[in-house]
């Protein structure tokens, strides 16, 4: 990686002006993956002085600035209570303590990394992303929308009563997930389900959710629901795992997640 210029603007306006005027300018979140690239970068725009390192609890949501690190999410008292600590729990097993103190919310979400556990975990909740130019949109819409030059300002996580589950399989805990899956519901209804590290970016499983929401005792319909899930999500090959293996894993992780959110004891 070669960088020609390094700037730390003090306002979002200034940061946006720099990236919109320079095609080869790159916004820096934590920098973990930028550092490992072989890119020639004209200007790195470090957002740490812009004031996006906040976690604010509001009446119906928790707002998290894009420069908050994953380590800060893990240690935050508001998030330890929200969804019974769901976010710190799945964030706290991503890579290492040291890396989580560098990687940021924006640096993880904005590039839509396929390997991300964080994006998959968030898709089990109602999350809005706020972009400087493109405005507010649901996380699932952001993931399928082509975004040009823009800056992720914050995410808003809706406060609800939801049972949640985050499932993954890795070759070792200190590795990327071969596949990950998140599921939530409100008392056995209003499901949200997503599968990530497919190896493509996490994707909501809408048809499966429709089916789960239409039946009274979802676990009794596990086989049918699994069939829908495996047909609606695409699984690909990479050096970590084959698509066929990932497809098999998805069924296993889905069963575990459904058991967890329904507290199934059968």
């Amino acid at each position: 990686m070669r960088i020609k210029n390094y700037v730390r603007p003090h306002t979002l306006e200034e940061a946006y002006r720099i990236i919109s005027e320079n095609e080869r300018a790159v916004v820096l979140g934590g920098g973990s993956f930028l550092r490992l690239s072989f890119k020639e970068i004209d200007t790195v725009v470090d957002l740490q002085d812009v004031g996006l390192d906040f976690i604010e609890e509001k009446e119906d949501a928790v707002d998290i600035g894009s420069m908050v690190t994953l380590g800060e999410l893990e240690r935050n008292d508001v998030l330890k209570k929200l969804y019974r600590g769901y976010i710190p729990r799945f964030v706290g097993i991503i890579w290492s303590v040291q890396l989580r103190n560098i990687a940021t919310v924006g640096g993880t979400i904005f590039p839509k990394w396929g390997f991300s556990d964080f994006i998959t975990g968030l898709l089990a909740l109602n999350v809005d992303v706020h972009l400087y130019k493109s405005g507010k949109m649901k996380l699932e819409d952001f993931l399928k929308t082509k975004i040009g030059k823009d800056i992720l300002v914050k995410i808003s996580i809706k406060k609800e009563r939801r049972e949640t589950s985050f499932q993954f399989l890795r070759n070792s805990l200190y590795d990327f997930s071969l596949l990950n899956l998140s599921l939530s519901c409100k008392k056995g209804k209003d499901f949200k389900l997503a599968v990530g590290a497919r190896p493509g970016v996490a994707k909501p499983a809408k048809k499966t959710v429709e089916f789960l929401n239409s039946v009274d005792e979802p676990f009794k319909h596990l086989k049918r629901a699994t069939g829908i899930l495996l047909s609606e999500i695409e699984f690909g090959d990479d050096f970590r795992a084959s698509g066929e293996y990932r497809k098999h894993l998805a069924g296993v992780l889905f069963k575990r997640a459904l058991e967890e959110v329904l507290n199934y004891e059968g």
Binding site: R35, D46, Q48, S96, Q98, I102
Partner: protein
């Protein structure tokens, strides 16, 4: 470009290239305890504290450290001398290359946990790889230093 940071309590100004990492700058300026291992954010040998929390100096760009407080093993020498002795007593220090990163992490662990379990210790140190020791001696030394679990 110039970056200013406080290293082990002393204000410093360094002339750096925009592509330099914090690791490059620290080593070039004599903080040789900070080791370059994998240089990909995996092994933990380059761990330093930035404003009190452990980070990988091979991943942090020097420009990002501007205005922050950096602590290397040299800055916590007195507090961690006892741990260094425990590492030696337990035969946990072989080539020693990973030790500075480990010492910084155990210092951070002690600040964050009052009475950590073995599982919590393992989880906290998951990003500190050692190719010599097999980790058993390190775990004994850590437990003795923290006064837990033996």
């Amino acid at each position: 470009m110039k970056v200013e940071m406080t290293v082990n309590g002393e204000k410093k100004v360094f002339e750096v290239d925009p592509s330099d990492t914090l690791l490059d700058v620290l080593r070039r300026n004599g903080y040789l305890s900070v080791k370059k291992g994998c240089d990909t954010g995996t092994c933990g040998a380059c761990t330093v504290l930035m404003d009190g929390v452990p980070v990988l100096s091979c991943i942090v760009l020097a420009g990002k450290a501007h205005g922050h407080e950096i602590t290397t093993v040299e800055g916590i020498e007195n507090e961690m001398r006892e741990f260094a002795e425990k590492l030696a007593q337990e035969g946990a220090d072989q080539c020693g290359y990973c030790s500075p990163g480990l010492v910084v992490m155990v210092y951070a662990l002690k600040k964050m946990y009052s009475n950590p379990t073995e599982e919590e210790i393992k989880k906290f140190l998951i990003g500190n790889l050692c190719r010599c020791s097999g980790y058993q001696g390190q775990m004994r030394a850590i437990k003795k230093f923290l006064g837990v679990g033996e």
